[in-house]
């Protein structure tokens, strides 16, 4: 297992291709390239036919105010995603610790809470934070009406991710810790959690992608995130397709960067515990 870092999933699952397979792969690659090019051509043609390529749908991208406005939205998205991600990490960890604590009522409670947040769509949680505090006379800022539900939804998933990590730590590590006289708490803190977190870093960061995507329902609470600001521009320029295309690309770039970061972090930390 010591070469796990360089061993890709494809290498692990399939044998090395022989000459006939290599030829088949080349033919397949050529065919799919042609198909992709044709599809792109068809899309561009359809845009042309329906007039979506007309200058009035694209010219406002030349004004820097457009980008400033979208940039402000991007900052809003990043602020919510990072805050929600941080809250979800802490809450997810606490839920997992509660669930694995061995204290029956606490474990049951944490389990119910985890499953609830994992099971309920985040949009529903957002509606909850939009309506319920207001009815109780509580005035939550839009930022928190968005951040809290997104964080809660993610915390349920992260609790399960952490639990999977803890379960992946070999039993012998715990036994060795107990055998030198560490108590349960220190065994968890010093031995189990540090290893569990290293195991699940890629999953944790992947979950951040979900958090970023969850923030796009900000319009429900009128929070100015990237999506909400794009909607404002769509209304004022009457340009739906071009704007959605551009912000789709921005979201893809954000999440691509997050994924790249996860691979980087996993390589940096993962190698230390390869057995």
């Amino acid at each position: 297992m010591s070469s796990t870092r360089t061993l890709s999933m494809r290498d692990a699952l399939y044998e090395a291709p022989g000459p006939r397979t290599r030829r088949r792969v080349r033919i397949g690659t050529a065919i799919s390239a042609v198909v992709v090019l044709l599809a792109i051509a068809a899309v561009v043609r359809q845009f042309w036919v329906t007039g979506q390529l007309a200058p009035r749908y694209w010219s406002f991208f030349l004004q820097w105010t457009t980008w400033r406005f979208l940039g402000q939205g991007l900052l809003g998205t990043v602020a919510v995603a990072l805050t929600a991600g941080a809250i979800a990490l802490v809450l997810g960890l606490l839920l997992m610790l509660g669930r694995t604590s061995g204290v029956r009522p606490l474990a049951a409670l944490c389990r119910v809470v985890t499953d609830f947040f994992r099971g309920v769509p985040s949009l529903l949680l957002i509606y909850f934070f939009f309506f319920v505090p207001a009815q109780l006379g509580l005035k939550l800022p839009a930022f928190w009406m968005l951040t809290l539900p997104v964080a809660l939804a993610a915390s349920g998933v992260l609790a399960e991710v952490f639990r999977a990590g803890v379960n992946a730590v070999p039993r012998g590590q715990v036994e060795a810790a107990l055998s030198i006289g560490l108590n349960r708490g220190k065994t968890m803190r010093k031995i189990v959690l540090p290893q569990a977190v290293r195991y699940v870093i890629p999953s944790l960061i992947a979950q951040l992608v979900v958090v970023v995507k969850d923030t796009t329902v900000a319009y429900v609470v009128s929070y100015p995130d990237l999506m909400q600001n794009a909607r404002v521009l769509i209304t004022s320029y009457d340009a739906l397709v071009s704007l959605y295309l551009v912000i789709a690309v921005i979201y893809i770039l954000i999440n691509y960067a997050i994924n790249k970061a996860s691979v980087y972090v996993a390589n940096k930390t993962g190698v230390r515990i390869v057995r």
């Binding site: 070999p170 036994e175 055998s179 030198i180 560490l182 108590n183 540090p194 230390r272 390869v274 057995r275």
Partner: protein, 254 residues
């Protein structure tokens, strides 16, 4: 050291009285009684599934027992909490799979217990740790992580980790069974040194040469029972029970 105080000489360091344990329908320990005196080296042998590993693990409560008693220096083995943790810290345990903490350097593996459990300062713990790592011959590896060490080096580091707690006795649960043949002796040599130094030891092993050379007493287990025990030469040359004769016949030859 404090455990050398006069007057306690006659109390066994480890004593099991009529210990029974089941795994479901499987009766893994049947009325096992065993007493280990200070400085004694007891080697437990027997076919796989005979309960010898389980026996070893019950002594620091990594396995619970159904009935019977386990006494450490005359005191009942605590069931839980701080008392159990303290008792475990006084019994070294060496595992078949080494179980070095995978995310820490070898040095940190050895100093963790002294610092977290015994409350030693970093410098003090590291000084003793390096001395121990030197004694088991892996001082060069102190700053590597376990995955960078060979199996034999890992097991010797694991022994150092246990010794750092200055234990009253050491439990070895098949310490060489996961090792490549050429690494077995380097681990056994460390164990021989320990035994010569007067350490009280219980060793579960398949290494008959080690048992003959080092053991004060050999305990033969089969089907969860202690079938026979005696001094090594008597046991290996003239086993009394048919089970022991069959077992010894099955492993010799070649």
């Amino acid at each position: 050291m404090s455990q050398e105080h006069a007057g306690e000489k006659n109390v066994p360091v480890i004593e099991l009285r009529h210990v029974d344990k089941h795994y479901g329908d499987l009766h893994v320990l049947r009325d096992v009684s065993l007493s280990v005196a200070r400085g004694e080296v007891v080697v437990i042998i027997g076919p796989s599934g005979s309960g010898k590993s389980t026996l070893c693990r019950t002594i620091n409560r990594l396995e619970t027992i159904d009935s019977g008693e386990i006494l450490i220096e005359g005191e009942p083995l605590p069931q839980e909490g701080r008392e159990l943790a303290r008792m475990r810290s006084e019994l070294g345990m060496v595992f078949q799979q080494f179980n070095l903490f995978a995310h820490m350097s070898v040095l940190d593996n050895v100093t963790l217990g002294p610092r977290e459990v015994l409350g030693q300062q970093k410098e003090e713990a590291e000084r003793y740790a390096l001395e121990l790592l030197g004694r088991v011959g892996v001082a060069e590896q102190a700053h590597k992580v376990p995955a960078q060490l060979s199996g034999g080096q890992q097991q010797r580091a694991a022994i150092a980790r246990s010794l750092a707690m200055r234990p009253k006795a050491m439990l070895f649960d098949e310490p060489t069974s996961a090792l490549d043949p050429e690494m077995i002796n380097e681990v056994l040599d460390v164990m021989v040194e320990l035994a010569r130094g007067g350490m009280t030891m219980i060793v579960v092993t398949h290494e008959m040469g080690f048992a003959r050379r080092v053991a004060d007493r050999v305990v033969f287990m089969a089907d969860g029972q202690i079938v026979e025990e005696g001094v090594p030469d008597a046991f290996f040359d003239h086993p009394k029970s048919q089970r022991a004769r069959d077992f010894l016949d099955s492993i010799k030859g070649h």
